[in-house]
């Protein structure tokens, strides 16, 4: 399919909490086949925008659509069923499950084995589990984590936990992949692995959006960048355009002066 129809679009997305306007009427057009960056200072509303797109928050105004189909009013699980998945800024792995099982949950929506196989050792359920386990191991290996499947998330350093989250998001071959600060807490080598893995994921059908504070990463992998400040876009364009935009420079220099 062509890039324009497979886009994730939002028009006039407005969100407020108790009178505080968090998103002030945003238009987005996240295209398939590209990596889109979403940057901005702390509290700009990046995570809130993700939450609106995935259905965790219901914006007061605006429309959201994927591939021309409206998503408004659909709960998160229904959007997940259309392949719209995300990772979380604050790692949300289940401590009771192993790393491999956590990643397998990225495939939960594709499972078909019924309740009977949940309680009895029937071939259907066993097959499902081994298929999901194999896919999870492959996703972990792609992100440079081949040997941690049997560990529990709490035993891993924070950087690796984040990679496990990303593995969970990509394992289900999503059509829209939204990553919220995937490189936070990663060391240099891990960031490099991540960068390579993200580049490898690019495909003509995949919409990929990355929220990230690591500017080197953003500038190197993104095709287009949206810059958000106080719930409004101050710039949209290629890395070069954004880097030379005076408003963007002001925002980032301004926040540098604060520190």
């Amino acid at each position: 399919m062509d890039q324009m129809t497979n886009a994730l679009r939002g028009e006039g997305i407005a969100l407020s909490f108790g009178g505080i306007k968090v998103l002030k009427g945003l238009d987005v057009d996240f295209r398939a086949g590209e990596i889109t960056g979403l940057i901005g200072p702390n509290g700009a509303g990046k995570t809130s925008l993700f939450n609106c797109l995935t259905g965790a928050y219901s914006p007061q105004k605006g429309t959201i659509s994927y591939a021309g189909q409206p998503l408004n009013g659909l709960p998160p699980a229904a959007r997940a069923a259309r392949g719209i998945v995300r990772s979380f800024q604050h790692v949300a792995l289940c401590p009771d499950l192993t790393v491999r099982e956590n990643v397998m949950m990225g495939l939960a929506r594709t499972g078909t084995a019924g309740w009977l196989s949940a309680f009895l050792p029937l071939p259907r359920g066993r097959q499902e589990r081994s298929d999901m386990a194999r896919a999870a191991d492959a996703a972990l290996a792609d992100l440079g984590l081949p040997d941690v499947g049997d560990r529990h998330p709490g035993e891993l350093p924070p950087g690796m936990q984040r990679l496990v989250e990303i593995a969970r998001a990509v394992v289900g071959k999503p059509s829209v992949l939204m990553l919220d600060e995937p490189a936070a807490g990663l060391n240099n080598a891990e960031t490099q692995d991540l960068t390579a893995a993200l580049r490898k994921l690019v495909s003509p059908d995949l919409v990929m959006v990355v929220v990230e504070h690591d500017m080197d990463l953003v500038m190197s992998i993104c095709d287009r960048i949206y810059v958000l400040n106080f719930g409004e876009f101050v710039a949209v364009g290629s890395p070069a355009e954004v880097r030379s935009n005076p408003d963007v420079i002001r925002i980032y220099l301004g926040s540098d002066e604060d520190e």
Binding site: A77, F88, N102, M105, A118, F119, G125, R129
Partner: protein, 328 residues
Amino acid sequence: MSDQVSHMPSPPSALSRLSGLATPGVTAVVLVTLLLFLPALLGGSWTFTLGLCFANSIGVLAVSLLVRYGGEVSIGHTFFTALGAYSVGVLDTRYGISLWASVPLALVLGVAFGLLFAWPSRNLHGIYLAVTTLALALAVPEMINNFDGLTGGYEGLYVATPFLPGVDMGAQRYYVALAMLVLVCFAVARLRLSRQGMALLLAKTHPAAADAFGTRRVWARISVMGISGGVGALCGATLAFSGSTVSPGGFTFWQAIFLLVGSVVSFYGLSLPRVLIGGAFVTLVPQLLSASGAWIPVLYGLALLGMILIGHYMPRIRKALNRNRETG
């Protein structure tokens, strides 16, 4: 610093090699083998009590399931045990139908009422849900007495139809309970490996993440209530058969509390050894203490406190023991 120490491989001692062998599966097999031969060593009354122990263990498991997979506490599970017990009791005394048909009926009713209860209470959590389950427990004795045409009211019902005709009834009451307990524990262990079970665990710890990967919170809550209700009803069915009588006295509000206490005492464990501890606590402690008259509640409380404190300090005790072993 301390991290490095704990990551150092310690030389394998005979003890650790032995405990390496004791996987949950092996432990369960050894335990079941022991329990299979126990009636040969024990008198009839102990065999009877142990049968009740197994039945109560299933009830404890039902409560622990709700905690472990749903993150919720129930103080009303006698509703489900009563449902299962009266399924067995009524089919047996009124129609002469044995466990072959009454246990499946109990399971279906338990699951159905678990789902029915879960739907209106799906958005309640913590103490609010617990209080709602309390209402269930309080309603049970009233309902039993209201339908006394069917339930036999205060006098109750006597379950006499054998499961396997021609086999000694005393032995049946023991071995059926043991078999039910083992089957339920096995099914629950399978659940942990299933897609549904894993989704429930994720929904418990990170509902937003579960949602984002296609597991609705409401689905999770309703499913876990259905499962817990079904297991609760199996507990009741087993209690009815192994205890031979079904009467309102077995399904009081206090009994619901005891089930929760048994679950706490077994640290919400779902494995066979753990639920047996809980079931034993529910069955034996009141019996052992009944000789002490007015002191029952106090001693019960102390016994409970003791168990919980041991559980609380267990990790530290174990750590201290390990340190001694490493340095010594």
